[in-house]
Subunit: 599 residues, 2 copies
């Protein structure tokens, strides 16, 4: 097909859009791929739609090869299935809800586990029907609090979501691997580097869960990996729990004055000034050989306010080694579906038992927090705070701390929680060595949901023995519009986009320059030859536009192969311009055609 | 591609769905094409998605040939543009509205004139940019009061909607004809018989408007056509207005007792009993030569209650010849955007001036309705009630009527209105003769919107003289999912669907029967050969399913060409089965392949 630019619905913009925060957003708007309609909601112009279509075709091809069948669910769905699984409530403000004229509740679906489960329940009844993987490429909705970064975090977005159905765990493993393998091929065909990291199954419920992250310093996700092959996002990272230390012979706790020590740094300095230095073996957690007190010897107690789904508010205190912070994302996952925020002054006023700045699990009067306390506030500890470790921490008295406070003797937790920040050098949980931290963008996600949805919605089949068994499911997602934005984010220069040929809106951008009819005639005939060879051609046939403007537009639009027909046309010469390398080469028209069609 | 039924996501149902009102709905559900999710909201299963995709590809091809470019707007749009054109209000309960977490108003768009207008306003500024036609194939939403008939009237549905932009009326005409021609080609390729009828532009505003109707007795729309080529839907039909009759010498009105005449029939019988017979020339409207009173001599006055957009309720009285009714659909169009319902008892009680069953525009006391009356109620007449016509009608006194009441002398209207029912034999307004009535289903609609949207939203371009001119627009819609249902409605028999080959989900349905490995081997090899020739093959390779079930499934699914491989396999013989004609023929496998691939 040859598309003539003189008629094509394309207008490039000289100015960046005022609201563009990231390169992909800026360039996709300027080059005429998308237009904003509302926060996080975009219209797709012809160029954008073509790139999106090519990405979708790659995904469809790999889904077919993986034995998955395409279906299509509506965006508008009734409340009931989402009520059964509690997600109607769990999504909180994150989804769009509406009522129809009969006052029935609907939502714009953010994901479709429930209705896929019900569809299979409707149609299938025997183990012989399984395994099954079905998918859709469909527009989804989330009412993001802060839609931003153009297509990277929109409120309407296109996703490929697949769901697998098996009746054995081994079957689920196989279906999961088929999708995981398909994802690897998809990202390879899209030219997108990826790392597969362990992820927390989070609100989706379920067991095995991995994310495909594209590693990039500007990614919004942090992940860790070890030289030995471990990789996980920080939310899924689990701490290696040290061995407990025998309690016998450990010094007794001692309260000491600590005026003016509101921070860990000031507390450490003060401790080094007034306390004896740490003694090997008894000053835990990580002090063997330490001759000075450090932040790692202190126990930081942070008060968090959880809001549960039923609206109730609960204060919890988490204790983490003083050399770490409470990581917001890890806390979010650890406490989901409750939401987490720091305790307010109001919370402290209502709980005078907690002395702000000097909170600790123990005081002169005995246990303040934990199992034997009377505050009724849950006390959750970092897994590193094993029995026998000794800490400097608040004494729950203004301007006083306590040292030699021993876990498992002087205080106990109501439970353990993975909320402490992860650091380079932390041990990978699989023993594969210390981890490093990196940033990435999520480009895909594969989940073993297990039986959660099938149980909630009653999806069972008869097995070989005629016994009803609950089906086990997987869920597999790729954000199509997000991937398009990431590809744009990675493939550009200061003059515009540079598409990988696998997803470019056109195969070749032919530019006729000058006022010479010969150039336009040759450009038209070259375009027709390229079309005949099966290429999709954008032909800039605009009569009254200068070569400079045409070249600038070509660079902005980003078709990877540009063919200029101008001065050399009378001699049958054209210029091949590689948008990515910038290389330009004058060759006979026939050679140019041969080279472009040989790819 | 070969799709093996043993793995394919397809389950046919033996039972009709309980809620299916029409054949297409019943068969599409039973044959595994769609599944209901909520009233008027369906999921698309693989077979349905394939047919839908083929229809969309035909439309895309013709749109490209017509020079239209594809874009894609979101379903979720902000209120503001629809507020400017007043459609946010005009749609009443007919659209889905919602709020986001910041309490901003959104709608699920039922049609996209506003945002297409704004897009072109954003990007274009000169007459040189025009003409332009852009379109999308997109999921739309309407909150129908009574979603029914499966896909024929859904609440979520896929439409192709195109919009043209010109700066001259002649340009609009050309753009309109290009889309109209494309529609003709689309329906021809889909094998859908159509009639192009004049339509009322209605709530869309604008001038020229035509509908493509598929003529069928079960259609929900009524249209009229004349042998001379006139065709219009009943809403758009206009009455040929008779010449006025001189008032001189016409008899004076006379009130007469008419006990027990609550209906036109009883009134006519009573009139023939108590009045002198009609006299030629003075008893109008249509009485030349009539020797008896008929319903056509009576004037029926109907009280309607309008609800205007601002919520106010207004009573109007419409007067139509007694041999016609007020047609609901014509009234709906005539009074739009107000909604119309019959007056209630309550309305009559509040307006004692109107004597129910005996309403008329005149009584002993003079004008009751119309220009000189004091009721304040608008009186609107059928265009046939021209000056000089004489009528028998209510005297606005219980059990009394009046005869010889002359329009233009004894009463006058506040206006004329086209709400009377249309009948076979009525004169076409273009003089092409009497019309007949027929029923049809709407399959497409082309509109000249004119400058309404461009004016409201400020879409102007500079013309050749550097003067800003308002753009004129057209709007062109095809209901993709509706067309799919209509094709299913027209192409079936008692055993299932029979798709036209242009939109069938597969080109060939290969059925292997028996337990003979030879049959399955041959079927697999024939399927592979058909695939190699570019055909899309559904191969029923199920091992433990009887031939009877396989044939029943094949007939239900409705692929037009079925190829059976069974008993004759050892001799290389297969059976070709034409699903539409039922013809079955045993031929060598190679011949079958040659015949199927020659199409």
């Amino acid at each position: 097909m040859v598309t003539r630019l003189s008629h094509f619905f394309l207008r490039t913009l000289r100015e960046d859009p005022a609201d563009a925060e990231v390169t992909s957003h800026r360039l996709l708007v300027r080059a005429g791929y998308i237009r904003r309609q509302a926060p996080g909601i975009f219209a797709w112009l012809p160029l954008g739609l073509k790139v999106k279509g090519r990405i979708e075709q790659i995904i469809r091809g790999e889904m077919a090869d993986a034995g998955a069948y395409e279906v299509h669910f509506p965006a508008l769905l009734p409340r009931e299935p989402y009520e059964v699984t509690n997600r109607w409530t769990e999504y909180g403000d994150g989804i769009f809800r509406l009522k129809d004229r009969k006052d029935a509740d609907y939502l714009l679906a953010p994901t479709h586990e429930e209705v896929f489960t019900l569809l299979v329940k409707d149609l299938y009844s025997s183990y012989k029907d399984l395994p099954l993987t079905i998918y859709q490429i469909q527009d989804k909705y989330r009412d993001e609090a802060r839609p931003r970064a153009g297509l990277l975090r929109g409120r309407e977005f296109t996703m490929k979501d697949a769901y697998s159905f098996d009746y054995t765990d081994a079957g689920l493993d196989a279906s999961y691997m088929a999708q995981r393998d398909a994802y690897e091929r998809i990202f390879q065909r899209l030219g997108l580097e990826y790392v597969i990291v362990q992820a927390d199954a989070g609100a989706m419920g379920g067991s095995r869960s991995e994310e495909f992250l594209h590693p990039t310093p500007v990614g919004e996700d942090t992940f860790v990996r070890s030289a030995g092959g471990y990789a996980a996002n920080v939310e899924a990272f689990t701490t290696v729990v040290p061995d407990a230390i025998p309690l016998e012979g450990l010094p007794e706790p001692e309260i000491f004055d600590s005026p003016g020590t509101p921070t860990i740094d000031t507390l450490v300095a003060h401790s080094n000034a007034v306390l004896d230095p740490p003694r090997s073996g008894v000053a835990g957690p990580a002090t063997d050989g330490a001759t000075e007190w450090t932040a790692a010897h202190t126990l930081k107690n942070v008060v968090l306010a959880l809001t549960h789904l039923d609206g109730t508010r609960e204060l919890v205190v988490v204790g983490v080694p003083g050399d770490r912070d409470v990581d917001d994302k890890r806390a979010e996952v650890a406490f989901a579906p409750a939401t987490v925020e720091p305790a307010t002054d109001d919370d402290f006023q209502r709980n005078p038992g907690l002395v702000k700045g000097y909170i600790g699990p123990w005081s002169q009067t005995g246990a303040i927090l934990g199992e034997e306390s009377a505050t009724g506030i849950r006390y959750l500890l970092d897994p590193r705070v094993v029995d026998g470790t000794a800490w400097i921490t608040g004494a729950n008295i203004d301007e006083k701390h306590v040292h030699s406070l021993v876990a498992g003797r002087d205080f106990t937790a109501d439970g353990f929680v993975e909320v402490a920040s992860v650091r380079a050098g932390d041990a990978a949980p699989d023993g594969s060595g210390p981890v490093t931290l990196a940033r990435g963008m999520e480009i895909g996600h594969v989940f073993q949901l297990g039986r959660k949805y099938a149980e909630a919605l009653g999806l069972k089949v008869l097995d070989e023995n005629g016994k009803l068994v609950t089906v086990t499911m997987g869920s597999y997602g790729i954000g199509v519009t997000r991937i398009l934005a990431i590809i744009a984010e990675l493939n550009n220069d200061e003059r515009g986009l540079i598409w990988p040929s696998s997803v470019a809106p056109f195969d070749v951008h032919v530019v006729a320059t000058g006022k010479d009819g010969v150039a336009f005639d040759l450009a038209a005939s070259v375009s027709a030859d390229l079309e005949a060879a099966g290429l999709d051609v954008l032909y800039d046939d605009r009569a009254k536009v200068s070569p400079g403007v045409k070249f600038a537009d070509a660079e902005l639009v980003g078709v990877p192969q540009i063919l200029i027909v101008g001065r050399g046309a009378p001699d049958g010469q054209v210029e091949l311009w590689d948008r990515r390398t910038g290389d330009r080469e004058v060759v006979p028209a026939a050679d140019a055609i041969a080279r472009l069609t040989a790819r």
